[in-house]
């Protein structure tokens, strides 16, 4: 072996590793939408556009924040062109840091203004909804919980589950409850959950698993988790909570173009594609997402926006609430 061989070896290694990807016709998307749902859509875009899509997907345990934090960590040299978020509040973290470029897609025109930014910094489409998953073998029909507050009902002590609120849509849900109820009621609810020995699952997927297997009587998760459980023939009932109260939280998925992205034009093409009604319909069929546009067909069992009472929240305010309450949540979780 000769010392002069070192640089040669390293050069070959870099060529082998780097040469494996052609970077001219590609688009890079970071997404917190479940990989099992998002990847087939991205593959179809590849076929239609001729562009190669390179994706970074979140793990369930760090859902929505793992990818988000990577975008923040990479801010100095953005790698991503598009952030396809599983909820409408994470983009605000990026917007506040100046990491998002405005882009008004022509395909966004028919999406209601409530679900998109007027400056094009984010556009919402197919939404998930926070629902209660109830195990029918453990809960009598007459005792079916109807409110998010039932998680803290002593009748269900030790028999309910909620995902870790530091991650995923649970963070947004808790923040939304705080924004509606106020600090005092919100804190009281969290304490009541703890007193009621609600299980803190690692993720919504884990909540689904706990309810489906009957390890808990019911828990709170998202509509796509509910649909997966139903597809597996799990004995669950899906309840839209608080229909006679504050309403059920609706969380559109959103797309944003990243500022300084390596392939902005390709990024815009991907955003245009994702905002097509066909994609919204596909998300309704594949993962029970609620279409936000009128006229999009939904499969049986999937509700449309307007068919249930939605919680009235300002996503920007929820985003601020979410950042503000982090120390409280860390303390509550015990980390």
């Amino acid at each position: 072996m000769n010392a002069r061989l070192w640089p040669v070896f390293l050069a070959i290694a870099i060529l082998v590793l780097g040469g494996c990807s052609s970077r001219s016709r590609e688009v890079v998307v970071y997404t917190s939408v479940d990989q099992v749902v998002s990847e087939p859509i991205l593959r179809d875009f590849e076929k239609q556009s001729g562009l190669t899509v390179r994706g970074v997907f979140d793990t369930e345990e760090t859902k929505s924040t793992g990818v988000l934090n990577r975008l923040v960590a990479e801010a100095a040299h953005p790698q991503a062109d598009v952030f396809w978020s599983g909820d409408p509040v994470r983009p605000f973290v990026l917007i506040k840091r100046g990491l998002v470029a405005p882009y008004e897609s022509p395909n966004a025109a028919r999406i209601p203004p409530t679900f998109r930014a007027s400056d094009g910094s984010w556009t919402g489409f197919a939404a998930r909804v926070r629902v209660l998953l109830v195990n029918k073998n453990r809960v009598l029909a007459s005792a079916t919980p109807r409110s998010i507050r039932d998680l803290a009902d002593p009748r269900w002590k030790g028999a309910t589950a909620i995902a870790n609120p530091l991650f995923g849509t649970t963070t947004m849900h808790v923040a939304a409850l705080f924004s509606i109820w106020g600090d005092e009621q919100g804190r009281a609810f969290l304490q009541a959950l703890k007193d009621n020995q609600a299980r803190i699952a690692s993720s919504n997927g884990e909540v689904k698993r706990l309810v489906a297997t009957g390890e808990v009587a019911f828990g709170v998760a998202d509509t796509d988790d509910a649909q997966e459980a139903l597809a597996d023939h799990a004995p669950i009932e899906v309840v839209f909570p608080d229909q006679d109260g504050i309403g059920t939280l609706v969380m559109p998925t959103t797309v944003s173009l990243m500022r300084g992205s390596p392939h902005p034009d390709a990024g815009k093409r991907l955003i245009d594609y994702l905002l097509r009604p066909e994609v919204e319909q596909r998300l309704a069929e594949a993962a029970a997402h609620v279409p936000l546009r009128a006229g999009v067909q939904t499969p049986q069992g999937v509700k449309r926006a307007g068919e249930f009472k939605a919680m009235q929240v300002d996503y920007n305010q929820v985003a601020e609430e979410m950042e503000r309450m982090q120390p409280l949540l860390k303390g509550w979780v015990g980390l």
């Binding site: 793990t59 040299h77 994470r90 015990g334």
Partner: protein, 510 residues
């Protein structure tokens, strides 16, 4: 050459750590506040208790099993060893997933009680014990295979087999036992995926919460990881005291040529117990295969694999090659106590024990720059990450082999005017070739099973198989997820089979 190898290690492992040190002043106040509360210390104690329990349990099973494999007439002991070692080379969360399909409420033998037990500290100890016991078994077996046959045979003339085992063999394997203790402790205390999967709160999860939560705080995460620094140094000191200069053999060096100790009337019972332990550890793998077979999971695997297997193999192979070269140069320097080698050795151990997500954030900070995109945007960043984290694997494997080679040969060559390069290439390399190949293989297997290091910075669209499995795990169809886990098992088995074939071929060729 040592300078070049040292520079590679410094760039890969030290720069990321330094970049986080630079973040400390900005987050000092928050960091002090965090460390000033009881909770991080409580979690650290809990992690240390978990690590201690797993270590003790692994030693309790691994030391006798290593003795049985290396020095007794246990039937089919080589096959037993191979089967026993195999689960260790799989990502621990794959085994946890398998145990979920066995003991979870809807699992093979699952009830509410087994499920509750699995999703508890006891469950984490169970999974990690079965995963890490092979480390103890193998190190002890390897050490015993290297014990001087004359010493043992002389003792057997006057003493009973039990006395030989307790008075001669186990004391002779003490350095290996200490090394196994340190390795299992280090592997358990840095394990994140299994405790998270089983909902057991541990210290690395607290560090990870600073990186995965909405308020991204890498400086705070690093501050929180600081208590691990004295722990790493303590482990190093213990290792130096009890293992460092001592010699024990590496796989296959001496073989099993000696007359094995007869187990006598205990043979059937001991055989049953040993095989039971080994077969229990493989149960989750068979259950995963069964789960993948139901619901067409195996048929769908090709659709979901993507390029992940080739990403794992390519990045792992290149990283293992770099590690083997580093291991050869640095391992030789460490074994011969050349100046500076000791610090580099300590650095490699520190990088190994530092929580992987912390190292990952440091790597992003160092490598995500305009001019480093050929590295950061490609699989090369995985190679850098793997080299940083697993250099210690190659270094220790090679140095333990070199320690067995007589120094006199190198000194004789030096007196005849052979330079450092020539001595390394013509004397050290031929004598330690098997150790270098073993170091390459171990490093490769560590890279292929890695999840925690890669998950934070894998290049877009170029994820290794472990990451793909992890990102699909919670929401993918269970049969497909089980199928991907089976693919990971098959990939590992193929690598091990190739490694075994390479060693067998070399033996036959000689």
């Amino acid at each position: 050459m040592l300078a070049v190898a040292g520079a590679v290690l410094l760039v890969a492992a030290l720069l990321p750590i330094l970049s986080l040190v630079a973040e400390l002043p900005a987050t000092a106040r928050t960091a002090i506040a965090v460390l000033g509360t009881a909770r991080p210390w409580e979690l650290l104690l809990r992690s240390m208790a978990l690590a201690a329990l797993v270590t003790v349990a692994s030693l309790a099973a691994g030391v006798p099993l290593g003795l049985l494999i290396a020095r007794t007439d246990l039937p089919f002991r080589r096959l037993l060893w191979g089967l026993h070692l195999f689960p260790f080379f799989l990502p621990p969360f794959v085994l946890a997933l398998g145990w979920f399909h066995v003991l979870g409420r809807t699992g093979l033998v699952g009830t509410e009680s087994t499920s509750r037990l699995l999703f508890s500290g006891g469950g984490a100890i169970w999974v990690l014990w079965l995963t890490f016991t092979p480390v103890c078994t193998s190190l002890v077996a390897i050490a015993l295979l290297g014990v001087d046959a004359g010493l043992e045979e002389a003792a057997r003339l006057v003493a009973s087999p039990v006395r030989v085992a307790t008075r001669i063999l186990i004391p002779a394997a003490r350095p290996a036992i200490v090394l196994a203790t340190l390795l299992v402790f280090a592997l358990t205390i840095s394990e994140l995926a299994v405790p998270m999967f089983l909902r057991v709160q541990v210290f690395p999860a607290a560090v990870f919460a600073r990186l995965g939560g909405i308020d991204y705080a890498p400086g705070e995460a690093f501050a929180l990881a600081l208590p691990l620094l004295p722990l790493a140094l303590l482990l190093l000191a213990v290792e130096r005291r009890f293992v460092g200069p001592r010699v024990f053999a590496v796989a296959g060096l001496r073989g099993m040529a000696r007359e094995p100790i007869p187990l006598g009337t205990w043979r059937p019972l001991v055989t049953l117990a040993a095989w039971l332990l080994v077969l229990i550890a493989t149960v989750p793998l068979w259950v995963l295969l069964s789960r993948a077979s139901r619901g067409g999971g195996l048929m769908q695997v090709p659709r979901w694999l993507g390029q992940a297997p080739s990403n794992s193999l390519l990045s792992g192979a290149i990283a293992a090659t770099v590690i083997a070269v580093l291991g050869f140069v640095l391992g030789h320097a460490a074994a011969r106590r050349i100046r500076g080698a000791s610090s580099l050795d300590a650095l490699s151990m520190l990088a190994f024990i530092t929580p992987a997500p912390v190292l990952g954030v440091g790597l992003i900070a160092v490598w995500n720059r305009g001019w480093t995109q050929p590295v950061y945007g490609t699989l090369a960043i995985l190679v850098v990450g793997f080299v940083a984290r697993y250099a210690v694997v190659g270094l220790r494997t090679v140095s333990s082999v070199i320690l067995q080679s007589p120094r006199a040969l190198e000194e004789a060559a030096a007196t005849t005017g052979a330079g450092a390069w020539r001595r390394l290439a013509r004397i050290v390399l031929p004598m330690s070739a098997r150790g270098v190949v073993a170091g390459w293989l171990f490093a490769f297997l560590f890279c292929v099973r890695d999840l925690e290091t890669a998950v934070l910075f894998y290049p877009a669209g170029r994820e290794p198989l472990t990451v793909r499995l992890f990102t699909l795990e919670a929401n993918g169809p269970p049969a497909v997820v089980a199928g991907l886990a089976v693919a990971q098992v098959a990939l590992t088995a193929a690598v091990l089979a190739l490694g075994a074939a390479a060693f067998a071929w070399r033996r036959a060729w000689r």
